[in-house]
Amino acid sequence: MHDESKQGGITHRLESIGRNTVKGIEEVGYAGSLFGESLFWLFAGPKYKQPVRIGSVFAQMMEVGVRAVPIVGVLAATVGVMLAIQGIYTLRIFGAETRVTLGIALSITREFASLITGILVAGRSGSALAARLGTMTINQEIDALKVMGINPVRFLVVPSLIAMLIMVPALTFFADLTGLLAAGLYVSADLDISLAAYFDDVIEALKVDDVMHGLAKSAIFAVLITLIGVANGATVKGGAEGVGRVTTRAVVQSIAAIIVTDMIFAFITTRH
């Protein structure tokens, strides 16, 4: 009897793992199909008299990008200063604190600017996208769009995707500049070197590839945040509580996807 119940428990757990795996694969498949559909409407929309509205793209760009500038600036500056503090502290052990600029420049442009921006946009705009889509699904607004002959992917998803693809790299570039400037101010004060000398070092240390590395990653983050937000919002169940659940889920999944992608990207691009 005891063995049977133990066996039943294991079977139940295996079933649960299997179900969740299938569900996960389904979600990835759905996000992939959303991406495909978005590309389809972006290019084939005019043929079906359903072009993507530029006005909607600009509205989303304002929301995703322009309104995020202050918080991205503050956090990028904070990370820049933090890198400078830690870098100087570590390198002082070897008496090489003047070499801190190299570490700061590479860390900010290749890693931290895109990562911080991605995480912030996921928390700010990814969650908003999931909540908006979720609420619209619950309120039958998505159904209403369909019966009006307005494709919801073209009307809602594509403008968000384009806005993210433009604004996340733009914010990342802004974070690069802000982070480097803030770090430079700290370094110049702490090590008593001029800001101009610091920036000379930064320019010498950086290659265009380093900046492009961060920007390319941020474009991938933009796609991930949009698709995860939309996929969660569109599959909401259970009213307002369900909207809350998918919003949290979208943020957690986006941040996890960003960090994992960052690691994979870093691994692939440093294998030469």
């Binding site: 619209m136 039958q140 607004e141 159904d143 209403a144 019966v147 009006m148 002959g149 307005i150």
Partner: protein, 278 residues
């Protein structure tokens, strides 16, 4: 029967052997129905009867598991995407909760189909939106947001949006649900007025008997995924079908259960029994 019906031998909605299943659950079990031009057809039934699922099939929001749905002479199963877009321009829907886009004003909501499907200038669209708002007695509300409207006003605004393209077909999902009797009667009047003024075919899904009897030319009674009967208001009222009478008199049915099924429902396992029906 209400006056104003103009039955035609050619149905504008033709449904044949429509089956809809979600996984193992079959919701619609072979529906046959014709809805004719200019009539108000009310789809009635209790909770879980399949009326909302049926509405989703004829609004082309879902693909049926099997069967044929023809709208305005076009088979939904064999239409191209372009044909579907064109068909949708000739359909309007007023959803239960209004389903107005919450980020837009009432006026923008009503103009949305025009701005998406026509090349009219902004001024013309505004005039058309105001005209439709007057039709539904909401003149002057175009600059409000949906969350600033009452339940009845939301539904009226949804009607205005549904008729902005002068559709041939209008679908209404539970128009009276959640409204007080006075507001509900006002919406019924609106539905009748729209049919009279525009000659459109209207399909209404409702479980409100008073409303159904007030507006219907014909009523289809759905029960557990099957059509119990289709007929005029008088025919439905005088039906001798026990289930129809139960629905009209708001009586719950005495459920006759198979004991094996009852136990299976409780335990999650099928146990054979020979006991009496519960």
């Amino acid at each position: 029967m209400n006056s104003g019906a103009n039955p035609s031998p050619q149905p504008v909605i033709k449904v044949r052997d429509l089956v809809k299943s979600y996984g193992p659950r079959t919701i619609l079990k072979g529906i046959d129905l014709d809805i004719f031009e200019g009539e108000i057809m009310v789809i009635m039934g209790g909770s879980g009867s399949g009326k909302s699922t049926f509405l989703r099939q004829i609004m082309a929001l879902e693909q049926p598991t099997s069967g044929i749905v023809e709208i305005l002479g076009q088979d939904l199963g064999s239409m191209t995407m372009g044909e579907m877009f064109d068909l949708r321009k000739r359909m309007g829907v007023a959803f239960q909760g209004g389903a107005l886009i919450s980020s837009m004003t009432v006026g923008e909501n009503i103009m949305l189909p025009l701005s998406e499907h026509t090349r009219l200038d902004a001024k013309t669209m505004e005039i058309m939106a105001r005209l439709k708002l007057e039709v539904v007695d909401l003149a002057g509300f175009e600059n409000l947001r949906p969350n600033e409207l009452s339940g009845g006003m939301l539904k009226r605004a949804a009607f205005a949006r549904a008729i902005i393209m002068d559709p041939k077909l209008l679908f209404c999902d539970e128009p009276s649900a959640g409204l007080d009797p006075v507001v509900s009667a006002g919406l019924d009047e609106l539905i009748l007025r729209l049919r009279e003024a525009m000659g459109i075919t209207i399909v209404v899904v409702t479980h409100e008997l008073d409303s159904a009897f007030r507006i219907a030319d014909r009523i289809t009674v759905l029960d557990r995924g099957n059509i119990l009967m289709t007929g005029t208001v008088e025919e439905v009222k005088n039906s001798t079908n026990e289930r129809v009478q139960n629905l009209l008199n708001r009586r719950t049915e005495e459920e006759i259960l198979d004991p094996a099924e009852y136990l299976a429902r409780l335990t999650g396992e099928r146990i054979e029994t020979d006991g009496p029906a519960i």
